[in-house]
């Protein structure tokens, strides 16, 4: 799109209890910009399109390479990372809003602590004996490594929760990300030994049964993690687990 300016509209809110407002910005176009570099330009020249001085918008970001998961926000109605949102293909004015399923902190910043709490709940780790020199780890089939790697790239960005109809600011559903992590750890030769406790956690309140099978998560994931496939796999594992628990084995 050949334009000389970048038009942007940002939803601003000073704090969790403050009213929200929209502010419009108009900046000179430069090639190969992304949403973050536009926000940085606004920081350097914090004036709205109408020429009114404002505070610079507040947002979360860190790596800017789409590996840290920090800069998720809603861009033109779609949740994604702001760093990899290049300006050229975006319809203007570009509309930025904070994610809606997490408590708002300020402007585009939200509080995603619930996601880290969920990882704690499902025991998303390998329980090693210690960090002493205990020799090499177990051998792993290269194809299993490939599958594990695709799950291990989850950066807890929150896109899958944002698009899930079962996740609301008050619901207890842990969401697709944590469920896929259970699959990851249950796949590992050592992690497998403790699969039971993770499956028990998935059967608790806010666990697997709360999934409504909308399948939005897998389309929203920026890392193309096989989320729905993982939810289905965990459904099977918990079923087998329940049967074993009922009949022994």
């Amino acid at each position: 799109m050949a334009t000389n300016t970048i038009e942007m509209k940002i939803k601003r809110q000073d704090g969790p209890n403050a009213p929200s407002r929209w502010e419009e910005f108009s900046l000179p176009y430069k090639p190969k910009m992304n949403v973050i570099s536009v926000l940085m330009e606004i920081q350097r020249h914090p004036y709205t399109k109408q020429g009114v001085k404002t505070t610079s918008p507040v947002w979360d970001c860190n790596c800017l390479e789409e590996v840290c998961g920090a800069c998720s926000m809603i861009i033109n109605g779609r949740v994604r990372q702001a760093c990899s949102a290049l300006i050229d293909p975006l319809h203007q004015p570009i509309v930025l809003e904070p994610m809606t399923k997490f408590p708002l902190v300020r402007d585009l910043v939200v509080d995603r602590r619930r996601m880290f709490e969920a990882l704690k709940r499902v025991h998303a780790w390998i329980p090693i004996d210690g960090t002493y020199n205990l020799g090499p780890g177990p051998r792993v089939d290269p194809t299993v490594q490939g599958d594990a790697y695709s799950l291990a790239r989850c950066m807890t960005c929150g896109c899958c929760l944002e698009v899930c109809p079962q996740v609301t600011p008050t619901s207890k559903f842990i969401g697709a990300a944590a469920i896929a992590q259970v699959r990851l750890f249950n796949m590992h030769p050592t992690g497998k030994m403790h699969a039971r406790e993770r499956l028990e956690a998935l059967m608790d309140e806010g666990g697997l049964v709360d999934c409504g099978n909308a399948q939005n998560c897998v389309h929203a994931c920026p890392k193309e993690i096989p989320l729905t496939e993982s939810i289905a796999a965990m459904g099977r594992q918990t079923t087998v687990h329940v049967l074993k628990r009922l009949f022994g084995g």
Partner: protein, 592 residues
């Protein structure tokens, strides 16, 4: 003797989290402070891998060779006992990470796979696709979460470290930190504190670093008396994608997997590294590759389309191999540059990447250069009770770091720092809880006053504009090719920036989630540290590793085989020089 001491680790990247794990494993509680949720730390950006001489490919590699190449790669400026300890421990570290569940790439037999990297001819680098740092950090994050669930570790995320608390004897007794949501400034007493806050790349404006890598915490303790060592040694990585917001790294692993660098000359590709370095080809150490690219673009004017661009070409390698071994970085190039590197050569240029210099730390070794594990001296700064680990410390890499040694050094540093903190804290006669409240209150008040002063800045300067200008001055004058007149001019510019800083318009009075105030405070710390980097470079009249002066093109061991030690004074850094421990390997000419 203190049975159950209090510890604090500032920074939740690889080095910090490894220290936390070691502390918790010893049964000692630990509080972790991080500007971002620890899982989002800059360690995630490391791509290529982690070095360990396991020799699974029958090449005859050994930790001794790894040690030699690390020291040679660093142009003999590294203290050798720590580098030796790191290389000897490396295989055990990679095995440990494997046990933690890191999805390392595998051989058909299910063993760990290793690839080549810069500055070596051996396959020594274990890797998880091309997002190794992310995978390693996640493994540690998971282990720490386990200790958190057990109640031994307490995390303070979205908290900013402001300063150390020093008592009347100059001993570190805790920290002052600020909650970045409520803006509350609080004191946290501790018997041992570790700074693990990474490098200062953001001082150069655009770099491969994450936005949190301002060096602010290191600068804060430097201004409190901690020595900053070898600040002038800044690694500029040969291959990054230039961007408006940052420069994105294109891992050395691209060349390890067969990537070739070239520019068009007389209508044909000219593989300038392969021609000049027939043995190491595209895998010469980073400082050398970077200087060659500068020479090709700036002196020969042979950059692609006459610009500061060279090609990094993978298009001759089968797409399936690329996806399996380099997937993560190909995706970055596709997403941010918009082209498919499986089909078209990537357009890259060098970018500031890593600081070899950092906070000065001590270590204890025996007569044969073996590190005394558990010694409280290991990784302790010159401020008693204050430790440093990771990129923020100055050890291991000398004047230039080899690729895939940074993840390793972070890990090893954490493994040494954690136990050192525990034994130091347990050996104290007086615990932090017995320290007078006035000591803590004085430091808290000092930080409250700084905060209030910044909130009240009502001048005309924009802090973000000032930062951009700082980055330009530093990148133009204090990176790959250095001249004394330009370095002097850069320092004059820094002094002018410090003056302008006082006339900032803060433009945001919010007492809630105020990023402008936090950034402005960090900007001052960046300026203080920028002077250390610039004046260290100005003074060192030789060329060594990443530090290159055309007017002094040779390494000068007689005069400069020395560690630079910078101490803060109100009028700027005071520089002294200390001998380097070269007890294990004799310096020799560095040829590739």
């Amino acid at each position: 003797m203190i049975a159950r001491p209090k510890t604090i680790v500032v920074g939740g990247g690889l080095a910090g989290l490894m220290a936390v794990i070691k502390i918790a494993e010893a049964g000692v509680p630990c509080q972790v402070f991080s500007f971002v949720p620890v899982k989002r730390s800059h360690s995630v950006c490391a791509q290529g891998g982690i070095n360990a001489s396991v020799d699974t490919k029958g090449e005859g590699d050994s930790p001794q060779i790894h040690f030699y190449e690390t020291v040679k790669g660093g142009d003999f400026l590294a203290n050798q006992p720590l580098a030796k300890g790191m290389c000897e421990t490396a295989p055990g570290i990679v095995y440990l990470l494997d046990r933690m569940g890191v999805p390392f790439n595998r051989t058909p037999e299910g063993l760990l796979d290793f690839r080549g990297f810069g500055g070596t001819l051996y396959s020594r680098t274990a890797f998880a696709g091309a997002t190794t740092g992310q995978q390693l950090l996640y493994a540690l994050d998971e282990q720490v979460r386990r200790y958190e669930a057990e109640g031994l570790v307490e995390k303070f995320e979205y908290w900013e470290f402001l300063s150390a608390v020093k008592d009347g004897e100059g001993v570190c007794r805790g920290i002052v930190a600020q909650d970045l949501r409520t803006m509350e400034i609080r004191v946290f007493p501790a018997d041992a504190v570790c700074i693990a806050t990474g490098g200062p790349g953001v001082i150069f404006g655009k770099s491969t670093n994450s936005m949190v890598c301002t060096g602010s915490a290191a600068s804060a303790v430097y201004q409190q008396g901690a020595i900053y060592a070898n600040g002038e040694f800044i690694q500029v990585h040969p291959t990054a994608i230039p961007g408006e917001d940052k420069h994105r790294l294109m891992s050395e692993s691209a060349r390890a997997e067969g990537g070739r660098m070239w520019v068009p000359r007389d209508g044909k590709p000219w593989y300038f590294l392969e021609e000049k370095y027939p043995k190491y080809k595209n895998l010469v150490p980073r400082d050398i590759a970077t200087r060659e690219i500068y020479y090709v673009c700036r002196v020969l004017k042979l950059g692609v389309d006459g610009q500061d661009v060279v090609y990094l070409d993978l298009s001759h390698i089968p797409a399936e191999t690329l996806d399996r071994k380099l997937g993560g970085i190909l995706e970055i190039y596709e997403k941010f540059a918009g082209d498919d590197p499986r089909k078209i050569p990537m357009r890259v240029f060098p970018s500031v990447h890593y600081s070899m210099g950092g906070l000065w730390i001590d270590y204890e070794a025996d007569g044969s250069g073996n590190i005394a594990g558990g010694s409280p001296r290991n990784h302790q700064t010159n401020i008693p009770g204050l430790f440093a680990a990771g990129e923020v410390d100055y050890e291991y890499h000398g004047a230039n770091r080899l690729g895939a040694n940074s993840l390793l050094s972070c890990f090893y540093a954490g493994m040494l720092a954690g136990p050192a903190m525990v034994s130091y804290a347990k050996g104290l006669e007086k615990s932090c809880e017995a320290v007078e409240a006035s000591v803590f209150e004085a430091e808290r008040k000092r930080q409250e006053e700084t905060f209030a002063r910044i909130c009240a800045l009502q001048g005309s300067e924009n802090p973000f504009v000032l930062h951009k200008e700082l980055g330009e001055v530093m990148t133009d004058n204090v990176t790959v090719v250095r001249y004394n007149d330009k370095l002097q001019a850069a320092d004059n510019a820094l002094l002018a920036f410090m003056d302008r800083w006082k006339r900032i318009d803060i433009n945001d009075a919010a007492k809630w989630a105020n990023q402008a105030v936090s950034f402005t405070r960090q900007l001052w710390n960046m300026l203080e540290l920028a002077r250390v980097i610039t004046l260290g470079a100005l003074r060192r009249d030789e060329s060594r590793g990443s530090h290159y002066k055309p007017d002094f093109p040779d390494r000068n061991d007689a005069q400069w085989l020395k560690t630079t030690l910078a101490t803060w004074t109100p009028s700027g850094p005071e520089l002294r020089y200390a001998p380097v421990d070269i007890s294990l390997l004799k310096p020799e000419a560095r040829k590739y």
